[in-house]
Structures are given as structure tokens and as C-alpha cells.
């Protein structure tokens, strides 16, 4: 899977890595059991430090997206990702709340906002669906 980082972004590099790998799982580009590059390989490919990659992998492990075998390497959680709990839902609301507030101030309607959300769901489902034999 292609990973690109933006050194100008205000998002830390390790966060960009975490996001892109989760997005890869969401689209189906990364499948359960699939291996990820070693910390050294990915770091070299991206021109960043091994510890930055390792930090991203540790966060993904803590979130339950990957398993880390000390020698085999890092693989996408083969058992599937743990379903959302109340804590995760709360985090979503907390993050979206200021966006909704500013949207209201700037005259973005509820329906317009929801259109953007639906577009994002469509984006991720484009590749994942399509085949019934999975």
C-alpha cells in the first residue's frame, strides 16, 4: 500500500502513518493477516526515523489494529478489529463537536455537513464492496 507523508502538515508524522494505515484497512487495501513493512524498511522508504514508524505501530497495536510479533514483524489484526465501545463513540462526538459548532457559525447546513460525511463513507466503501465472495 502506498503511504505518503506530508512534512508540512501540522499533524505529526506518526499520526499520519496511523491514519493512513487505518484508512487502508477501511478501504480493504490492507487485509487481516497481511504483513506491514518492518520499522526499518518503512522508515527508509519514507526517509524518516525508525522510531517514528515504531511509535505509529505501537499506537496501532494499542488500538487493536495490528499484532506485533517480535521476530515475524507487524501484521494486520487477523481476528478483525474490535467493535466500537462507548469510549470510542464519545471520542467521535468530542472531535466532531467543534466542527459542527463552527459549521453552524459559518452557515453550513446540517444536510450539507452530512453530505460530506456520506461522501467519506462512499470513498471508503468503493473498493471494499463490489465483490460478494469475501
Amino acid at each position: 500500500m502506498l503511504i505518503e507523508i506530508d512534512l508540512e502538515s501540522d499533524l505529526p508524522i506518526y499520526s499520519q502513518l496511523v491514519n493512513q494505515i487505518i484508512e487502508g484497512i477501511a478501504t480493504g487495501h490492507l487485509k487481516p493477516g497481511e504483513g506491514l513493512p518492518s520499522v526499518r524498511t518503512l522508515a527508509a522508504d519514507l526517509g524518516i526515523n525508525l522510531h517514528t514508524v515504531n511509535k505509529a505501530y505501537q499506537i496501532l497495536k494499542q488500538k487493536g489494529f495490528v499484532l506485533i510479533h517480535r521476530q515475524k514483524g507487524v501484521v494486520i489484526q487477523p481476528q478483525g478489529i474490535a467493535k466500537a465501545d462507548a469510549y470510542f463513540i464519545e471520542g467521535i462526538k468530542e472531535t466532531v463537536k467543534p466542527l459542527v459548532a463552527e459549521s453552524i457559525c459559518r452557515d453550513i447546513s446540517e444536510e450539507e455537513f452530512i453530505t460530506y460525511c456520506r461522501e467519506l463513507f462512499s470513498y471508503f466503501h468503493k473498493q471494499k464492496g463490489g465483490f460478494s465472495n469475501e
Copy 2:
């Protein structure tokens, strides 16, 4: 308007201030032309430093939510807030994208996600509407 900050939060204090003031405008608790406490007053009330409040005010000014008169103080933008531009929309999508990705991985349906968004819109509109003579 009541402002509360959480020193344990991973969000910087100045960001919490910015968010809560924008949310105050969204709910209608803060009205155009209304004055905000001076940087010293608010800092003292919250038990934080004057520069932290000032940073929040500067961000709100840059975003177009307040006017700052060097002597009069800080007031909610009397002309109303500038409508959303393409840049703002892009920012919304960028912020929501990783949330949608993780939601898909965690089996949160598009409709469930949208329900949470609608709940937030309802929350902000509760106080704002209600009266037709505004």
C-alpha cells in the same frame, strides 16, 4: 457565559477556549457585538496565564469570530461570521476522514455515525431557535 477548562485534556488550554467560545456563538449564548472578558479578567477567573487567553483571542480574531479593539476590548464579530469557503470545507473533510475510517473498521454504520452528527446539530440549535422574534 460559563467557560470551563480541563487541565487533564490533551487539548491545549487555548484550543479549549477557542472551541468553547465558538460553541457559545453557535448556541447563541454569545451574540454579535457582545463583549468578552479582558485577557486579564478571564485569565484570573480560570486560574491561567494572560498570554494563554490572549493566544485564544488572537486565533478567534484570525478566524473572524471576534474584533479586538486595543482599548475597548474583545467583542464578538458584530457583522456576523464569514461564511465557509472551500478551504474550510476541506478542513472539515480532512478532520472527519480518519474518524470515518476508524468507524468503518469498528463496524459503526454510516447511519449511526450520521445520527451522532445530527445530535450535535440539535444540541446547538436547541437554544438558538425557539424564538421567532430575533
